[in-house]
């Protein structure tokens, strides 16, 4: 039951978007987020809409998959929408019933904030859908490297993420094994209320943690035996290279950002 997991949301592929350098994708995602926050009125979400639609089309992501990434947010969306709808100040009353009052301004804000959330999640999902976790790690490591000058552990962070990714399948396999062993001794993981089931996880989690710590010790020793001594003087087998498509992608995204800002200025 624990076997069929995929790491993150990554959808392997070989499209233009997949081939973009992870650094480009991470940076352009930040530009995209800025773009979302520059949208001044709900109408102008048409620009990020076109942008996301083009990216999705190019990377072979279907509309359905994008909707799926928003689905976990549905309650948050609903609450955001309702709160803004009922509690925004405004003069133009559209509807009133007792103390419940819906104003035009409130409705606009509600739509605005909900759209912002939807586009934030849908757009950034394109990054995680088209970039493997390892490529993301590499990208983050290189992008954070300048911070190591002021003592930020960028290499260590990336190494930790890589190792975590490497050990997820191993630990899942182990959890599966422990679970079966405990079930063979009469442990019940499936019945009872939430509290009872959480309590039943203790005999699974304790051995799993113990073994994870033992693994960590072993791995540290094995890494030292293979001359690991931090990021200093280390070379890399995987190297990231910018190409022409990275330049084009950057130009297009920045153009979309500029367009959004200008539209907000001219037609508020």
């Amino acid at each position: 039951m624990l076997r069929d997991i995929t790491l993150g949301q990554y959808m392997p592929g070989n499209t233009v978007i997949h081939r973009l350098d992870p650094r480009t994708k991470i940076l352009l995602t930040i530009v995209y987020i800025a773009m979302i926050f520059c949208v001044s009125s709900p109408v102008w979400y048409v620009i990020p809409l076109i942008f996301v639609a083009v990216c999705a089309k190019l990377s072979g992501i279907t509309f359905k998959q994008l909707i799926k990434t928003i689905k976990p947010l549905r309650f948050l969306l609903l609450i955001t929408f309702l709160l803004n709808l009922f509690f925004s100040a405004g003069a133009t009353v559209l509807f009133q019933w007792g103390f419940i009052k819906i104003t035009k301004e409130g409705l606009l804000t509600a739509v605005h904030f909900s759209m912002r959330l939807i586009f934030l999640v849908a757009g950034t999902s394109i990054l995680t859908l088209t970039t493997s976790p390892i490529a993301l790690c590499d990208g983050i490591e290189v992008l954070l490297k300048p911070l190591s000058k002021i003592g930020f552990p960028s290499h260590e962070l990336a190494m930790m993420m890589t190792i975590a990714l490497r050990f997820i399948p191993t630990l899942i396999e182990e959890a599966d094994k422990i679970m079966k062993a405990q079930m063979a001794r009469g442990a019940d993981f499936e019945s009872g209320n939430l509290f009872k089931r959480a309590k039943a996880m203790v005999p699974l989690l304790v051995p799993l943690f113990v073994s994870a710590f033992r693994r960590a010790g072993d791995l540290a020793m094995a890494m030292e035996a293979r001359c690991y001594h931090g990021g200093e003087g280390r070379t890399r087998l995987r190297v990231l290279k910018f190409g022409m498509i990275d330049l084009y992608a950057a130009l297009i995204t920045v153009a979309a950002l500029v367009l959004t800002i200008l539209c907000g200025k001219w037609f508020p």
Binding site: R214, R215, E224, A225, C227, T235, L237
Partner: protein, 288 residues
């Protein structure tokens, strides 16, 4: 001490205490010289100190008494520690807990990355190492898709890529199934034979030790026996006293000898036994 290339690893009355107050050290004044190009098996039951001794050989542990020299470098000198570990590569017991990267090829590169080898130089070395352990076609696989034996072969490749003088196999077959064990032993034997790689093979499996050039038996941190497999395993009674098994054929030969058959002392395998019995019992047939 002058470095003699003939002995890449030398232990001089080396001891190791896990705890300073501990009366009995895990390794107790062991002196040992490992000859270049040899395949040395270190045997001992649990807690005999064999794994501790392996870790003394690449400066994971520093001796609390005596001296350990690896390729002419004293493991106690801090400046040489990375050089020592490059020269004496180590493969550990648990195949899962020594693979760092998410892809076979990248794991083999891990040691090279740490040494700061330029990328152009890495690529041929990785290919060569993978070829040596016959894992070329799995170069792009994720480690969790491999069997235990395959994982250990990847670990061996990771060590090989660093071009060591000695490979120390610290019970590297203990957690494998019989076919994986055979597989790893075969791989290391081939490296020893074809490339002249010096191997220190730590194990508690007799049948693995029986194929070595030399067997060292440890007990309570002391080297109690040292010799060719035939010399060591012919001392059936002593080995049994140490709580170790004897290869079945060696024991059978001893019993037959005790019963009056004049058999040779070098019998370790079924093939040896068949040959010896044919010559002893039917001298006429052996001439055919």
């Amino acid at each position: 001490m002058e470095y003699n290339e003939k002995w890449p690893i030398e232990l001089e009355l080396a001891s190791y205490h896990y705890d300073e107050e501990d009366e009995t050290p895990a390794v107790n004044q062991v002196s040992l010289q490992i000859e270049k190009g040899s395949f040395v098996a270190v045997l001992g039951h649990n807690g005999s100190g064999k794994s501790t001794m392996a870790k003394l050989m690449n400066a994971i542990y520093l001796p609390t008494g005596g001296k350990v020299m690896v390729c002419g470098m004293d493991t106690a000198s801090e400046d040489d520690v990375w050089s020592i570990r490059r020269h004496a590569g180590m493969v550990f017991q648990n195949p899962d807990n020594q693979i760092v990267a998410n892809m076979v090829r990248e794991d083999v590169a891990f040691g090279l990355e740490n040494l700061g080898i330029p990328r152009e130089e890495m690529l041929p070395r990785i290919d060569e190492a993978l070829e040596a352990v016959r894992m070329t076609e799995r170069a792009e696989s994720a480690p969790h898709m491999l069997s235990g034996g395959q994982k250990q072969r990847v670990a061996i490749a990771g060590v090989l890529a660093m071009q060591p003088d000695v490979i120390i196999m610290d019970e590297a077959t203990a957690m494998l199934d019989p076919s994986g064990r055979k597989d790893v032993l075969k791989t290391v034997r081939r490296l020893n034979r074809d490339k002249g790689m010096t191997v220190v093979w730590i194990t508690h499996y007799m049948e693995e030790a029986a194929t070595a050039d030399r067997v060292v038996v440890l007990d309570s941190g002391k080297a109690v026996m040292d010799g060719t497999p035939a010399q060591v395993f012919s001392r059936v009674e002593e080995i049994k006293e140490l709580g170790l098994d004897v290869p079945p054929m060696a024991e059978l030969a001893m019993r037959l000898r005790n019963a009056g058959l004049p058999l040779d002392e070098n019998i370790l395998t079924v093939a040896d036994m068949v040959k010896e019995l044919t010559t002893t019992l039917c001298p006429s047939k052996s001439n055919i």
